[in-house]
Amino acid sequence: MNIYAFWILNAILFLGQLILLLFLAWRKQKLTAKERTITEQYDALTDVFSSYMMDPSDERFIQEIHSASHKGVVLERLLNGYVSVTKGSVTSPLVAKLSEDFLTARYAKQLMRKSWAIRMNTLYFIEDFHMQSLTPLLKEKLRKTVRLDQETQQLIRTLASLNEPITISVLAQYPDAPVRLYIDVFKRLEEHSSLEELNAALSEETNNKALKHAAISYIGMAGLIAFLPRIEKELQTQDVEIRIQALKSIFHLQYISDPILLTPFFQSLSWQERMFASQIAGRLQLSRFKEVLSELLGDSVWWVRYSSAEALTQFSDGDILLTHLSAYHPDRFARDMATQWKSSLLGSEK
């Protein structure tokens, strides 16, 4: 065995590592210096940016951003900071204007970059800043996609945030498109488009189960009470998954036109249906179901016992009922559950 070969192997590896080390140290130094400059420019522009956002006639920010050597990154960070604070409120036309003026060309280029992470970040920012001018480019990109990977999913979300209902039909081309992605699209579309798409999703002709599932869930989440009759109609469907979603949606809407509609679900073979029916009875304080809730306290499924006890706490005489049930219910597990919820009521009184 030739020891020199191993000496050479180790020496080459060590020297190779030293070269890599020096390169990485140089790169780190450079990146740190660049980051420092960006931070300095960001700090210097923060005040004038705030003034501009409050009063667009104060044009100092526009003049100063032009002279910043890293204007793209700095503006991106300033706008991102602004939208993350005001997230959920109405889209700011100023954010859209600034980003359209300064970032359109940069983002158009970035969308074509080889780096997946940069393309993803760009899609996130286009969504955050509502950059309408990039819609044609994004639609073209979507047209060329063949797989519903992470990037395509974000592309769809971004386009939906720019109010492009085409995203629903594109999604429908993928049979395995997840429910949560449809919901993400409904959430992002403007109210008018969203209502139209929900209507279409609930129509008889729809064979897309994921889309229907998403529409029912979204209606509950968004509290769209106008859709209640459509949701109640879904309680009659043969598809148990859709029925469960409809019950969940009614629970969120906190309203039911006729409590009789709930009755069959307390005896359902599906424990999820029994659970949601109990939850709705509690949330809506439907006292006619007190007796059935007391029975469900002894259900074979823990979640049903838990929900029915929780539902009983919602009634004004819930503490008396639970005290009675904790002592006299024929089922031991029901007594335990009643005891647990009885004490939670005592806690809330403290």
Partner: protein
């Protein structure tokens, strides 16, 4: 005799070269994924989930034994977690210190009756407390039964479909849970376990669950553990996760699908390596069911933990780890080289046996022959020299490479001086740190024959202010 040692030398040299190459091979497998996500804005990619009602609620389990120093700050850090729906369950496994008293006082807890579902049998539950300030914080006081038993009790009490197990001495970053749940949510439940990357907190400044300044500790023992983490996480776990054959999700932090864990029988109380054993059992379950569900590891650091600063504590930790590894491989020996378990049986299990477990034995033999060759003519000094060089290659240069690869991909340590210090300390590994590890790991193999499983005996200082 001479011939015996000569052959042994060749075996050790071949082993070390093979292991080094397998490390490099695994790294190159993982490199693409890490590099791909390097520039991704993590905040942007998770912020949508914050307002999303479609995230799965998570129960956070904090098993604690004599954790009076760290438990309150851990729970406080969990309160600061950005996640739409969560509950925190601290399980005091019969501590002898004031773990429970600290919790009860700090969070104004009162004893409650609770209808616990006994999915998994555990030692006796003495009492359950609930915070009157934050009703979603609960405390279980139970008889001592070990960490696995404590986690099982937490699973029994938990209400949500996913649970996250976190050590009582660890701090989770604000968006750590969101980042770790993201693959589970996006896969619509096809991923049943995610392991978060764990980083050593010593030397960094952590305040209110946020890492304010990332720094390096002065203590060389801790520095070497940081390098070891790079080597283990970047070179090993990422690639194994990529191939869906990852056998370890750190006990310090991981998220699990509760139903699957209950189906698998919960944590095993008869091993000190309950985290690895559970993951292997879940893999076994998935393979036996021919399920397409996966176990995944995410490279982004989300959990910060306190590393031992003294040799004594480090020794006991390593003995425990090695013992846990041995026990897991032994109890699932049926899977070894068994084609029924796919790549897990044919690649992962043999890899963990030969590289992770028996590596210490080969390395020990290597050091023995080098010493014997140079000082007692046990083998030709030329062969001892080759072995010496291969040991440096295997022990130091691979670790130094791991430091460089971390800088190339994740580059979490901000200063050039950090990089330099880590690199040059890594070069010293084969001369002092590795021999120590080798001895303790061999002791760990022998420790398997001790009967009792117990909690690690870590002297805490606390890592968050």
């Amino acid at each position: 005799m001479h011939t015996f040692f000569l052959i042994l030398s060749y075996v050790v040299i071949a082993y070390m070269l093979f292991s080094s190459l397998s490390y490099l091979g695994l790294f190159f497998l993982a490199f693409g994924k890490v590099k791909r996500e390097d520039k991704l804005d993590r905040r942007e990619s998770t912020e949508d989930f914050l307002r999303n009602q479609n995230t799965y609620p998570v129960s956070i389990l904090v098993p604690a034994y004599n954790e009076e120093v760290g438990v309150v700050s851990t729970v406080r850090s969990l309160l600061a977690l950005e996640y739409p729906e969560k509950e925190v369950i601290v399980i005091d496994d019969g501590s002898k210190d004031k773990t429970s008293e600290c919790m009860i006082k700090e969070f104004n807890m009162t004893q409650i009756p609770f209808a616990v579902r006994t999915h998994i049998q555990t030692a006796q539950i003495n009492s359950i407390y609930q915070s009157s300030i934050f009703p979603y914080i609960r405390l279980i006081k139970k008889a001592n039964g070990g960490k696995a038993d404590a986690l099982n009790a937490g699973i029994n009490l938990s209400s949500y479909p996913y649970f996250c197990a976190i050590d009582g001495d660890s701090i989770l970053e604000n968006d750590g849970l969101l980042k770790t749940m993201k693959p589970i949510i996006e896969s619509d439940g096809q991923i049943i376990v995610t392991g978060g990357s764990v980083r050593i907190a010593n030397g960094s400044t952590i305040s209110r669950s946020k890492v304010e300044v990332i720094g390096l500790p002065k203590n060389p023992i801790v520095l070497m553990q940081i390098i070891e983490y790079f080597r283990a996480f970047l070179i090993g776990r990422l690639a194994l996760s990529h191939l869906n054959i990852l056998l370890i999700v750190s006990g310090a932090f991981g998220v699990f699908n509760k139903e699957r864990v209950i189906q698998a029988g919960g944590y095993n109380k008869n091993t000190v390596g309950e985290d690895m054993e559970l993951v292997v059992r879940l893999h076994r379950l998935l393979r036996e069911e021919k399920s397409k569900q996966r176990i995944e590891y995410i490279p982004d650091p989300v959990c910060w933990t306190e590393a031992p600063e003294s040799l004594e504590v480090l020794r006991s930790q390593r003995i425990r780890w090695q013992r846990g590894l041995f026990e897991t491989l032994w109890s699932h020996r049926k899977m070894m080289l068994n084609p029924k378990y796919g790549a897990i049986g044919l690649f992962s299990m043999p890899y963990f046996l030969f590289v992770e477990l028996l590596g210490a034995v080969f390395e020990f033999l290597g050091y023995f022959i080098i010493f014997g060759g140079f000082f007692f003519s046990l083998v030709d000094p030329n062969i001892a020299g080759v072995l010496f060089l291969v040991t440096i290659f295997y022990g130091s240069l691979i670790s130094a490479l791991a430091v460089l690869l971390e800088e190339l991909t994740l580059h979490k340590y901000p200063k050039v001086s950090h990089l330099m210090r880590l690199y040059f300390w890594a070069l010293t590994e084969a001369f002092w740190y590795r021999p120590l590890m080798v001895i303790w790991r061999i002791q760990g193999i022998f420790a398997v024959f001790q009967k009792k499983a117990h909690w690690g005996d870590m002297k805490r200082k606390g890592i968050s202010s």
